[in-house]
């Protein structure tokens, strides 16, 4: 017969050193339950279910987006001006996409394909090639790959990798 009462950990167990986190969690649950019970007769269905489109913000600073009011100009307080500069830099970093680009997207794409496209198109071609073509190219590209791989003793004086 399943009982409705949730199993609770005894105080002795909760006081153990390794149970501190659980103890805090249990205490919070108890607290929540108590406050729910306390206000349950005050809350009505509307308060629980209504979702409003309004957010209340009591601060003018946040509403109007006011800046910090501590300012220094023309070297009056160098320490403060350094802080202001840092803040400005951070702000500009956040809005970097608005800055004009040195290289347009068009140029970037062209440069990218000039450098990268051979490799990319090769990869894609490989995907659509027939098996016959594939084997042919493979033998053309590096005929040595047919050779059985074997261990080569590295030269001691040289760390350049030599294929031949």
């Amino acid at each position: 017969m399943p009982s409705k009462v949730k199993p609770r950990l005894s105080r002795g167990v909760l006081d153990m050193k390794f149970m501190q986190r659980t103890k805090a969690k249990v205490a919070k649950e108890d607290d929540d339950e108590q406050s729910r019970a306390l206000y349950s007769n005050e809350l009505n269905q509307k308060m629980l279910n209504s979702n409003s489109n309004f957010i209340i913000e009591p601060s003018y600073s946040i509403c109007a987006g006011l800046i910090d009011g501590r300012l220094s100009f023309r070297g009056m307080n160098p320490e403060l001006e350094r802080l202001m500069e840092l803040e400005l830099a951070e702000k500009q970093g956040r809005t970097r996409p608005d800055q004009p680009k040195d290289i347009t997207d068009q140029e970037m794409a062209e440069a990218y394909y000039a450098n990268q496209a051979p490799a990319a198109s090769k990869t894609m071609n490989k995907k659509f090639a027939t098996k016959n073509e594939f084997n042919k190219r493979k033998s053309n590209d590096n005929p040595k790959s047919q050779k059985k791989p074997e261990f080569k003793k590295p030269r001691q004086d040289d760390d350049d990798d030599d294929d031949s």
Binding site: N53, Y60, D68, L71, M76
Partner: protein, 232 residues
Amino acid sequence: MSTNTSIIMPGERVTIVEDAAKSKRIILGPGLRRVDEKVVATKAGPLRHKEPNTFWVDNYQRRYVPARGDLIIGIVKARAGDLYRVDIGAADLASISYLAFEAATKKNRPDLNPGDLLYARVLNANADIEPELVCVNSNGKRGKLGVLQDGFFFKCSLNLGRLLLRESCPALAALTEELPYEIAVGVNGRIWVKAHSTRETVGLANAIMTLEQAGYAEIEKICGNLSGVMQA
């Protein structure tokens, strides 16, 4: 920020906001209150809107209402055990722990005396408990916060403080052309300025105070005349 502003009065329904709320989430700032699905103004003044979805009322006010995250200037009033009581222009004195300063420990207390000026952040703002301030950021660093030494301090309306702190405000840039200076503007309507000489400092303060009644539209024109004000 939209330029076509409409003045709204307390109790008035703000249909512009209600219409906007049908399609997206809306942030209601100070001076606007939601009553079920209606939006009602609680303060008198121009309705401001910031893209994409923020609305608030920019009313004229001199009493500061603490809000979490605001940067304010406070005056140390007294020391009470582990706390300092700080006047921030709100209904109640704020408190700041002696540990809420950079590199402060129980042994190494900050040297604060009644009358000192603090540039601090509001950590905790609740109608039922007194506001709490800090002078460090979440990393324990001082940043721009802390005690303000020397200089000249004056009070103004909350609007002037906010006016100066708008990102596009030309006033501070116009003053920079006149002289090097340092300034702290609290959104609680308190301003502290410091320049190289007393004469310059007072001129600077006067120049800022002439902006008190300026709207967003006139400010450009006044900024052109600021140098004249400073000579006087």
